[in-house]
């Protein structure tokens, strides 16, 4: 039982002490200085006017946002949204199945399996992406095996298939962990009961496990969808850079084009989209929890 729940049980709320507030200062300061403040600068810059040398002149204009209505930008945005959604769905399906497998193993084995999921994180993201070039490229094992059967010159790189594989590989662990966490707290007897009452494999998942692990699934959806939108190395290295994502667009605007205001405007649009998706997930969570509460009440 945690301190707060105990406090509630005792019928009074412990007042935070002055000392604990002091301990919060480093955390608050870093959030404000490294998170909130830069965000405000980006938001301000998105309404500014760029000068010829990549600097920012004071001024207030909505032109940066108006320019984004040009179909060339919306195409990139839609492509990124589509790829982000695809990656999220694939990650969730595979993440769900993997988590279910891990949860159904004996408890002492689960830690080891989770460790296997974490191990790739010990290597740098860029290095792992380069490894995929070797695996999928013409000199790699896949091409080698196909070569035995007389299919020469096979290479998945560069292609959008390679991008999808790279994204899946990168974000699968972040999908597995939240789903695993919420699945672990499901009482195994619920599953046994459902099976005893004649539910099929599919029925057990659809009516028992899937609804009960939905908070983890929604969390995983957020954790995969949002970062996918910002990815910019994978499309270049694995996809050949012909179909840029929003992340690539922002990098190009900030550096090559020396157009900070436009880059800031795209960043803000992306931020709003992400906040909107978070709000949607929040709403969905709230609805599912109230629904569960009401069903519990009616059962009682």
């Amino acid at each position: 039982m945690t301190a707060t729940t105990r406090a509630i049980h005792l019928g009074r709320q412990e007042k935070p002490k002055r000392g604990s507030l002091l301990l919060l200062i480093p955390g608050i300061a870093s959030v404000v200085l490294l998170g909130v403040l830069p965000l405000f600068i980006v938001a301000r810059n998105s309404f500014a006017v760029a000068d010829d040398y990549g600097g920012i002149t004071d001024g207030l204009t909505f032109e940066n946002y108006a320019k984004l209505l040009d179909p060339v930008y919306s195409k990139t945005l839609l492509f990124s949204l589509g790829l982000g959604l695809l990656n999220t769905v694939v990650c969730l399906v595979i993440g769900y199945l993997t988590s279910y497998y891990i949860v159904s193993r004996p408890t002492n084995r689960q830690g080891f399996l989770l460790l296997l999921v974490i191990i790739p994180f010990w290597t740098d993201f860029l290095v792992r992406t380069f490894a995929w070039i070797t695996i999928l490229g013409s000199g790699g094992p896949i091409a080698g095996i196909l070569g035995i059967f007389g299919i020469a010159g096979f290479s998945v790189i560069p292609s959008n298939l390679a991008v999808v594989l790279g994204l899946l590989y990168s974000f699968l662990p972040t999908a597995i962990f939240p789903i695993y966490a919420s699945m672990r707290s499901i009482d195994p007897s619920l599953k046994e009961a459902a099976t005893d009452l004649g539910a099929s494999w599919w029925g057990v998942h659809r009516r028992v496990i899937l609804p009960l692990s939905s908070p983890g699934i929604l969390g995983a959806a957020l954790l995969t969808f949002i970062p996918t939108m910002g990815v910019f190395v994978i499309p270049v290295l694995l996809g050949g850079g012909k179909d840029p994502l929003v992340g690539n667009l922002i990098v190009t605007l900030y550096t090559e084009f020396r157009n900070q205001p436009m880059g800031a405007a795209v960043s803000m649009v992306l931020l709003v989209l992400m906040l909107a998706s978070m709000a949607l997930v929040g709403l969905a969570l709230k609805r599912s929890s109230t629904k569960r509460a009401t069903t519990k009440k009616t059962e009682a």
């Binding site: 608050i28 010829d52 070039i133 013409s138 560069p158 840029p244 550096t255 090559e256 020396r258």
Partner: protein
């Protein structure tokens, strides 16, 4: 909460102020020098030799693009003394007043520079920069992959014959070198109609491409995944040409382009005396030759050539392109107001 924010802002302000006051004021000769340079373009051996001779400690930071370097300087209080911008970046830095004009009376050995760098278009009279290393943008191809066919022109990059086996550098200005020159225009064009024509060519070219890649294009050509690639000359390209007899680097008959990275003094540099000492040290022929001997790059210093240990590099086009080869090459300069035409065009190419 409000008090907390005020307090934390106060702490940061105090820190910033104290770090400022630490840099100014001392009158004696500097004992350190802060250099911000391209990765591997000034070999470590050069810094070591400089420290050994002068006793000045050198702190080196690296950047991987001019844009990164410019934005860091533009942010202010970088603390750097020496920066190493490329030719068009010199123009941008001068435009933003981020460089100190060079006091020529403090510089010795500038006559050692090759004639083509003595009075370049991007920095007339070398008022802000001293050229250090240079290179070219051209074509890299794998003869095994092209079936022995020699590639000599940009037109090959636009030829449907090589569909799916062509790579372009993922860089706007680099892509437009090929796009403009293949149409017979100069790579430094600022004409809207010419740039629009180049954009059209690049859009038509896109379905033929394997991709846009400026990271590992050399490996792609060496492995044969790509037959022909637009390429930057320099260390990594020279290495790939050296290791693989099928891979060749050429300047296209349309001209190609020249780049040059030079030494400049950052505005408000805290150790200017040491910065001049460093520039003079790097102008010495035997030190300048280390850029080739230890860095694999072409030195802008003509007098350095006799100090190059591997004289073969002087005829390797990926390092020292000959004067005839670079005769038609254009310097890529800052397009200024025409930048807009390039950007609109490149956005369209990328979205097509």
């Amino acid at each position: 909460m409000k008090k907390l924010i005020v307090a934390s802002v106060g702490v940061v302000a105090a820190l910033a102020l104290s770090s400022c006051s630490g840099t100014g004021g001392d009158a004696g000769p500097s004992t350190e020098l802060n250099v911000y340079a391209w990765a591997d373009e000034i070999p470590q051996t050069v810094f070591d030799a400089f420290t050994e001779e002068t006793g000045i400690a050198v702190n080196v930071d690296n950047f991987d693009s001019n844009e990164t370097m410019i934005s860091k300087l533009a942010a202010g209080n970088s603390g750097y003394d020496i920066v190493e911008p490329s030719q068009y970046a010199v123009q941008q830095l001068v435009g933003q007043e981020l460089l100190e004009p060079l006091d020529k009376s403090k510089i010795e050995g500038i006559d050692n520079l090759a004639p083509k760098f003595a009075d370049p278009s991007y920095d007339p009279g070398l008022q802000y920069s001293v050229p250090w290393v240079w290179g070219t943008t051209g074509l890299l191809y794998n003869a095994a992959c092209t079936g022995g066919e020699e590639i000599t022109s940009w037109t090959s990059l636009f030829d449907p014959k090589w569909k799916g086996k062509i790579n372009m550098l993922d860089n706007m200005l680099a892509a437009y070198i090929a796009g403009l020159q293949v149409n017979g225009y100069g790579a430094d064009s600022t004409d809207e109609a010419e740039i629009a024509k180049a954009t059209e060519s690049l859009i038509e070219q896109k379905p033929l491409l394997s991709g846009y890649n400026s990271t590992n294009y050399g490996e792609l050509v060496a492995s044969g995944d790509v037959c022909i690639s637009e390429a930057w000359g320099g260390t990594s390209t020279a290495k790939i040409v050296e290791q693989n007899p099928d891979v060749h680097y050429v300047l296209p008959e349309e001209g190609g382009s020249l780049w040059v990275d030079g030494l400049s003094i950052a505005k408000g540099a805290p150790h200017q005396d040491a910065a001049y000492e460093f520039i003079n040290f790097l102008l010495r022929p035997e030190i300048a030759a280390m850029a080739t001997n230890d860095g694999g790059l072409a030195s802008a210093n003509a007098a350095a050539q006799e100090h190059v240990t591997d004289q073969g590099l002087l005829s390797n086009a990926a390092v020292y392109a000959s004067d005839e080869q670079v005769a038609n090459a254009d310097f890529i300069v800052d397009p200024g107001k025409a930048m807009r035409f390039y950007q609109d065009g490149w956005t369209r190419v990328k979205a097509s």
